[in-house]
Symmetry: C2
Subunit: 180 residues, 2 copies
Amino acid sequence: MEHREFKKLQERTCEYFKNANIIITDKEKENIEVADFGLNDIENTGLQLVIYVNTDRVCSKEMVLFPRQTCPEHRHPEINGKMGKQETFRCRYGKVYLYIEGEENKNKKCNPPAKDEKYYTVFHEIELKPGQQYTINPNILHWFQAGDEGAVVSEFSTTSYDEYDIFTDSRINRIPEIKQ
Amino acid sequence: MEHREFKKLQERTCEYFKNANIIITDKEKENIEVADFGLNDIENTGLQLVIYVNTDRVCSKEMVLFPRQTCPEHRHPEINGKMGKQETFRCRYGKVYLYIEGEENKNKKCNPPAKDEKYYTVFHEIELKPGQQYTINPNILHWFQAGDEGAVVSEFSTTSYDEYDIFTDSRINRIPEIKQ
């Protein structure tokens, strides 16, 4: 991703925090993470986030999804004998549709990004409106997509080791490079 | 505390969540915890909170302090060989003054509740405005007070075992009884 595009996406992310009335510091604004998962298709597959805290015990993030943007299917495995990440998503603005292992819903509200369907395998839908939340246990496959207004979602979890996440799409590189 | 007073304090707490643009569900409203710490002096010593999640690994709460209300001095000890609670406070609305172990500040912005001064022993001040946060490690003595507008504060932490907290004021009973 070009540096200029990256900065533009950070600014767009700030607009969503404003919509959700979430206050972040100037330093947090500068450090907004823009993840395109190495697929170079951020409007469809991507995630923007501020990491509030990530110690060796606990983590909290504020995530933004643009309208219909998808965070691709993945799971949080055990690392060096330590249980995988347990995470709670709480919707703050817009709507987020979360898909996990379990019975596939009829009339699902989302489809995986076009041409990437083969990398999506779980379709049990959980719809989260502002104030609603859901806890995902370690190793459970999941993906999520924002509704038409985009979404702001708080995450409360155990330590994040994003580099160890296992994605169904083997093309994915979780840690994006920013060209300066 | 009488049930009627308890419900009134829950409603007052909801006003602060509105001020902070934080959306909670009707069930969460009903379950707002009102802690008077057994001191029966809630305007001075008390805390109101919604527990979003508290698993055996991670916890997240949304806390409300009324103007100048104080959460009394305490620490989170090791429990059965398990490290004590590590918690991050993030101010969302108003101002919160946090006091921890360390050098006492001159011109502190808060005093302990009148007549309870002897139960307060740490005076290193950390002022948190909306968007600012601070992480408190296990076993560190701390107390906090809202400024004149009250405060809404998010807490991201390891598991909460409130019943094991150790208060400097030995009169304190953390789990309040509600008279029905």
